[in-house]
């Protein structure tokens, strides 16, 4: 697979690899994907009192572009409010990383992971009142966390 320099950079030097306490009230966790499909992303955000994302971490099982997509997403999330973060689009990730067409689904997965993490944070903090937030990605994260 011929990857762009940006994908290789994020793959070789992934930003923000790690885990936060998924039980903490100020941490939102999203886990999306499936092992048999070849990619699983866990993305976590830590939200400050003012609603700004102060830290983001990820762990990803997947190909080079899946790892790069989640690494880039965590980089972008820091310093954003959760509402701003909610507007993150997979197409932005795909464009920034120049993903080949067959790898665009990796950026979709990263977007799903971000939404799932935000929804998890909102649910924990009683902020989940919008019906649109009850997306499939959120359900996935809920199931995994229920383990």
């Amino acid at each position: 697979m011929a990857y762009s320099d940006k994908v290789i950079d994020h793959f070789i030097n992934p930003r923000n690899v790690g885990s936060m306490d998924k039980n903490a009230a100020n941490v939102g966790t999203g886990v999306v994907g499936a092992p048999e499909c070849g990619d699983v992303m866990k993305l976590q955000i830590q939200v400050g009192d003012d609603g700004t994302i102060v830290d983001a971490k990820f762990k990803t099982f997947g190909c080079g572009s899946a790892i790069a997509s989640s690494s880039l997403a965590t980089e972008w999330l820091k310093g954003k409010t959760i509402d701003e973060a909610h507007t993150l689009k997979n197409t932005d990730i795909a464009r920034e990383l120049s993903l080949p067409p067959v790898k665009v689904h990796c950026s979709v997965l990263a977007e799903d992971a971000v939404i799932a993490a935000i929804n998890d944070y909102k649910r924990k903090n009683g902020l989940l009142d919008d019906a649109r937030d009850a997306s499939g990605a959120e359900t996935t994260a809920g199931k995994v966390q229920g383990e």
């Binding site: 992934p14 092992p35 048999e36 990803t60 190909c63």
Partner: protein, 406 residues
């Protein structure tokens, strides 16, 4: 090998042309450039003599008669000629073909093509190691069976079918037996007569010859196998395959065959020892590693391993100094993992984390040390960033989690 060049452990994909092979070929590209069919002058005669010598060299390696060699462009063409040629020629006798789900696409897709045109094809299920038994084949034979086509060795996992037993069975039941021996030739002993093989496909570039040349060995007696020709034209190769012979390629194939025959007794054990050291070096220092393929009935150079909780493409990216291949879907356009690993029951998540190491003549002791080190480092690094590995470390089996397919 220069430092910037990766260590090549992908010999089942292709091999470099041996320097001795290249030397044998060169005159036939320049000074002795004649057409082997130009029998009325010295140029043609020299080319024809070189082709005859190559026939003997390859025939000796696979235990066949020199006259039974039909030159082709490679194993894909040989497989097509064998399978379609038999199906068309023996149509009146029957229309049933027996093969296996782990065959190379050159055989599988040819069989599927024939199935769309009135043939009945049985695709046997291999066992968990990738083998079919002679009993399985016997049970599948009907009055309509005209062809059994089973590879000698699998390209992805290296598993060897019991070719001699199946050959004897085919003979006793009067069914033609074709084997795609592309991966076996040059790596393990193959003997057409002793193994009861009627048709055998091979390709030069898998055993240190040039790309674009191969042959189909067609048994001439006991029984004499006839084929419906697939390439019409000047009637070369006894009418079985028209087209001007690729003389330099054929000379290279012959030279490569002779080197393999001479060196196999020392080379195969050397490569197997390196392969086993690689396996032990990895398995002894890493958890959750699974061998794909048969533990013993396997090519001496092939090692296919699944590394749980990491994905194959990222594993290869993590090892830029090692050239290997993966059955992970993420390197394919289809996003489907290997059909071979599926057929032997490897779960998709493990298939995604599989790497095939195939060693060869260029592989050295020092290289194996470097590769072991690189694999350990890469797998450990990726597991550190794997949410699945994290679950396992926390005592959660990812297999018990309800995932959403996407």
């Amino acid at each position: 090998m220069a430092l910037d060049k990766p260590i090549y452990l992908d010999h089942n994909a292709t091999t470099p042309v041996d320097a001795r092979v290249l030397e044998a070929m060169l005159p036939y590209l320049t000074t002795d450039f004649g057409n082997a069919a130009s029998v009325n002058h010295a140029y043609g005669e020299r080319a024809k003599a070189a082709v005859s010598r190559a026939r003997e060299q390859i025939a000796e390696l696979v235990g066949a008669e020199a006259k039974s060699i039909v030159w082709t462009s490679g194993a894909t063409e040989s497989d097509n000629l064998a399978v379609k040629g038999v199906a068309e020629m023996y149509r009146e006798k029957g229309n049933h073909i027996i093969t296996c789900k782990t065959e190379h696409k050159a055989v599988l897709d040819t069989c599927k093509h024939l199935a769309e045109r009135g043939c009945t094809v049985t695709f046997l299920d291999p066992d968990e190691f990738g083998r079919v038994s002679a009993e399985q084949v016997a049970d599948a034979i009907t009055d309509e069976t005209i062809l059994i086509t089973l590879m000698a060795a699998n390209n992805e996992i290296g598993t060897l079918h019991p070719i001699a037993e199946i050959g004897a069975l085919a003979k006793s039941r009067g069914v033609i037996f074709h084997t795609d021996a592309t991966q076996a030739v040059g790596k393990i002993p193959i003997d057409l007569d002793a193994m009861g093989i009627d048709l055998l496909s091979l390709s030069a570039h898998k055993f240190y010859g040039p790309k674009g040349v191969g042959c189909l060995v067609v048994r001439r007696k006991g029984p004499r196998v006839r084929l419906a020709l697939q390439m019409h034209g000047g009637g070369h190769e006894g009418g079985m395959r028209s087209g001007t012979l690729n003389v330099p390629g054929i000379v290279g194939l012959g030279a490569a065959a002779e080197i393999c025959r001479r060196e196999m007794p020392t080379e195969a054990p050397r490569i197997q020892a390196l392969r086993d050291r690689l396996h032990q070096g990895i398995e002894g220092q890493l958890k959750y590693v699974k061998l794909n393929g048969h533990p013993t009935e396997r090519l001496p150079n092939t090692l296919n391993l699944s590394f749980a909780y990491v994905e194959g493409e990222s594993l290869m990216l993590k090892m830029p100094r090692v050239a290997v291949s993966t059955a992970s879907a993420c390197t394919s356009e289809s996003l489907e993992p290997s059909f071979v690993l599926r057929a032997i029951g490897v779960p998709d998540d493990l298939a995604h984390g599989s790497i095939r190491f195939s060693l060869g003549r260029t592989t050295t002791d020092d290289q194996i040390d470097v590769v072991i080190e690189q694999v350990l480092q890469a797998v450990n690094d990726l597991r550190e960033m794997s949410p699945l590995y994290e679950m396992v470390e926390e005592g959660i089996d990812p297999a018990t989690v309800k995932w959403t397919e996407h």
